[in-house]
């Protein structure tokens, strides 16, 4: 009997008697005989806690995490610093073990936290309304397409090719179910040409671009938003929260929505998840938003309180006409994001952006490789490698350094491009080390 199960033999007997059956097996006689499972589960034997931890540590030891390799991997997930206060509150049982706050009197704390998260996301993105989070930076793009489909009545989705490939793949997986088709706009020398985006956006419901884009380059974002709008498509920017202390808010350059992956603010890398996707929009879209939204109200005595609001949008009420099928979201990870943003404050968020950008500029100077694109950048830089980038990665890793992501994995024409990410956790000395190792292996 597992230690997670609290009944004693005496308890069990008393309970069976109250029910009026002789054994636990009797309770399962309601299952038709033909579909009863009558052998022991063939799964590995139970491990006591100490042995379990040893097994997990053995597995973990075979992973080259960023404490064991000097890593410059980015491409959507970043090794930014997670403040200690995040660990403190994510292990508070009240936050950790509560469910969706359907009963507001039991859940004022988590409701208020979500309200504060919504406010912070709106501030960062320049939008009027944010939901309580989506699954990740890919699925919020599909959500935005579903909203645009119903808002515009149009069925075409325009994606910049310089939008993260996984975001594009997820949109393409979802689109047929929405009755939508996807067209992609190729990049020109590392960024998206507004004229080509405008042409593709004619008759489109939505146009999504990424700022900074997947190559680390800064898009002419205001021009792209205007280009999308020219064709009548809703302009949507996929942005990095960690950039929004130094880069302009999408709401201030004409976007209808701002979406993205929240991991860079407050979440560990965790091999890709769980993290939080964010989705914020102008006020006119409030009734088309997917997922939970928290609103402020008052109680019987006029005291301020918070509740889930506009729930008639959601699946548990609107069912087949809901704005989304989402139930579980990513509240705990979004809470980590909120705490991190409060810990940073406006100054800290600006400094974060400035430090990353300064390190990236330093890397451009120090790394002995040509730049793949002649464009302004933020925290990632694409370098041209003299041999396929995969080979450079393999050789550099032999020195305990992971130099970044070989873009050829997703972009067949870019086999000789290496994407190097700089966060505030790297130092100028780390960049020097990267430069030296690359120098050595490409000599």
């Amino acid at each position: 009997m597992s230690g997670y199960l609290p009944l004693t033999d005496a308890d069990r007997e008393a309970m069976l008697e109250a029910i009026g059956v002789g054994s636990v097996d009797d309770l399962f006689e309601q299952i038709p005989e033909g579909v009863r499972f009558d052998r022991a589960l063939d799964v590995p034997a139970a491990l006591p806690e100490a042995a379990l931890v040893r097994r997990l540590e053995e597995l973990a030891a075979r992973n080259a995490d960023t404490s064991r390799e000097l890593s410059f991997l980015g491409m959507g997930i970043y090794d930014h610093y997670v403040p200690a206060v995040v660990d403190t509150f994510l292990s508070r049982g009240e936050f950790l073990t509560a469910y969706t706050p359907y009963q507001p009197e039991m859940s004022q704390g988590v409701l208020q936290a979500i309200f504060e998260y919504q406010t912070a996301i709106c501030e960062l993105t320049g939008m009027d309304v944010s939901n309580a989070s989506g699954y990740d930076g890919t699925t919020v793009a599909a959500d935005a397409c579903f909203m645009a489909r119903h808002h515009t009545g149009r069925s075409k989705v325009v994606l910049a090719e310089a939008l993260h490939p996984q975001v594009r793949q997820v949109v393409k997986t979802y689109a047929p179910g929405f009755g939508m088709e996807v067209v992609e706009v190729p990049h020109d020398g590392g960024t998206t040409d507004p004229a080509r985006l405008a042409a593709a956006s004619a008759d489109a419901a939505i146009a999504i671009f990424q700022q900074p884009n997947v190559f680390g380059c800064l898009e002419p974002a205001p021009d792209l938003a205007a280009a999308a709008a020219e064709g009548g498509a809703l302009p949507v920017a996929h942005v990095d929260l960690a950039s929004l202390g130094v880069l302009e808010a999408p709401g201030r350059y004409g976007c209808a929505m701002a979406i993205g992956e929240g991991q860079s603010i407050g979440n560990y890398q965790s091999f890709g998840g769980p993290h939080y996707g964010f989705l914020a929009a102008r006020g006119e879209f409030i009734r088309r938003m997917p997922g939970r939204i928290v609103g402020e109200t008052t109680d019987l005595e006029g005291e301020r309180g918070f509740v889930l609001t506009l729930q008639t949008r959601e699946q548990h009420i609107r069912r087949e006409k809901a704005t989304s099928n989402m139930t579980t979201n990513q509240t705990l990870l979004a809470l980590a994001g909120l705490i991190t943003l409060c810990w940073l404050g406006p100054e800290g968020l600006r400094e974060l952006g400035e430090t990353c950008a300064a390190l990236a500029a330093y890397a451009k100077e120090r790394v002995p490789l040509a730049l793949a694109f002649d464009r302004p950048t933020f925290k990632e830089v694409a370098f041209r490698t003299p041999v396929p980038a995969r080979e450079v990665v393999a050789r550099v890793r032999e020195h305990g350094v992971h130099p970044g992501y070989p873009l050829g994995r997703d972009y067949p024409g870019l086999d000789d491009v290496l994407l190097v990410a700089l966060t505030e956790k790297r130092t100028p000395a780390d960049v020097d080390r990267l430069a030296d190792v690359i120098q050595e292996v490409t000599r």
């Binding site: 799964v43 469910y99 699954y135 808010a249 139930t327 979201n329 100054e347 974060l352």
Partner: protein
Amino acid sequence: MEVIFEKSKAGRRAGRVPAYDLPAAEIPADLARARPPRLPEIPESELVRHFTALADRTFGIDTGFYPLGSCTMKHNPRVNERAAAIPGFRDLHPLQEEDGAQGALEMMWELQQILIEVAGLPAVTLQPAAGSQGELTGLMLMRAAFAERGEHGRTVIVTPDTAHGTNPASVTMAGFELAKVATTDRGDLDLEDLRAKVDDRTAGLMLTNPSTLGLFDEGIEEIARIFHDRGALLYYDGANLNAVVGRSRPGDMGFDIVHYNLHKTFSQPHGGGGPGAGPVAVTRALEPFLPAPTLVRDGDVFRLDHDRPKSIGRVRGFAGPFAVFVRAYAFMRAYGPALREMSDTAVLNANYLLARLRDVYELPYDRLCMHEFVLSARTLKREHGVTALDVAKRLMDYGIHPPTIYFPLVVPEALMIEPTETEPKERLDAFVEAMRAIAAEAASEPDVLKDAPHRRPVRRLDEVKAAKEPVVRFAFEEQEAPDRIETG
């Protein structure tokens, strides 16, 4: 209480970011931020107090009994949290070369093997982010399978009227039409109605078994036959899997596709609404369509296979919500084959509560239940004007989280109660006493219930006001200048 933005004072701060002795990078002026976001300026001491106060105003399983039907609010073992925080898992980049992620991939592979055994189906994807995304994935698998067979006319998905709202919502998002099937007086799917609605246009069925009434469908074998005879497929919504682990397997019941809720059955903490994970298991015939990449084993080496020409594509970023996998894996390895006792105890606890409450609340379906059951407050409403909502609010004053209310829709004034296996008998007895006391109060002093709760940080909240004039972000005193460009 004040929101954190009201506690802000210019010039204060908590964290500092490293600043290196490097020249500042140039950001083109037209792309640079014009005015800073109004994040709170607050010292770490006050930040900690703020979030401590918020935690104090939140009720979790750690606080007390939480019999929220359909949500499987079981204890979350703390070793799972320790596991997820091991640096080799926590600080691993998802695009690490596979030779640097073998431990992560092996763990995921082992997790898949356990899930395969539990479901009785041979292939699994871990990618979906939640149960509802698992549903959508399952429906896309159906579409892909029928498209390959050239059966483009299969556009209808059947769900029972007791289904979770996610089922019909997923049907719409996947581009299918919905057909609803009625429930019999015993709480099973109405086979006659079902036969009338299954035809050549039917793609499949979505079913929770046990149902949202907490009842195992006695006609499940016949249901499977009806669909398979017509060439249609069966989807198992694993929301209630906690009832049957080691006792019955969806694959053996005839389901072709199954999703698991790792955050319900396998104890990922619910986190105030998430994260979760919704892995999907399928038959061999459907395996080629699973989302890419899939995880494969070559001898002692594990790798992600992106070369999957028939795949429906990717449904989420990277390899799925990995830290959820770590916790679920730790949970399953702690149990081993005794996972069956987990379900046994969940079912025993639920039936015990049912036995002790059936004389004071109406029981619409008079049968043994599985891991949860549904009572009705209809009699209380008729006799005393007390609703399920009032009962729920009053339970709060007894220090108990209310059950799910007003669901499933087929039961008026529904109270859906799921105790889970991790509650000792004393907690169950305290709940019984509270529910019986409330039923007595409904007769003697109904106003106490209608005004409840009386002992929470706030009184009953005005949800009408919140919906009519939505305030969904803090209103700063100094409003932002309306200088943005309106487009679209």
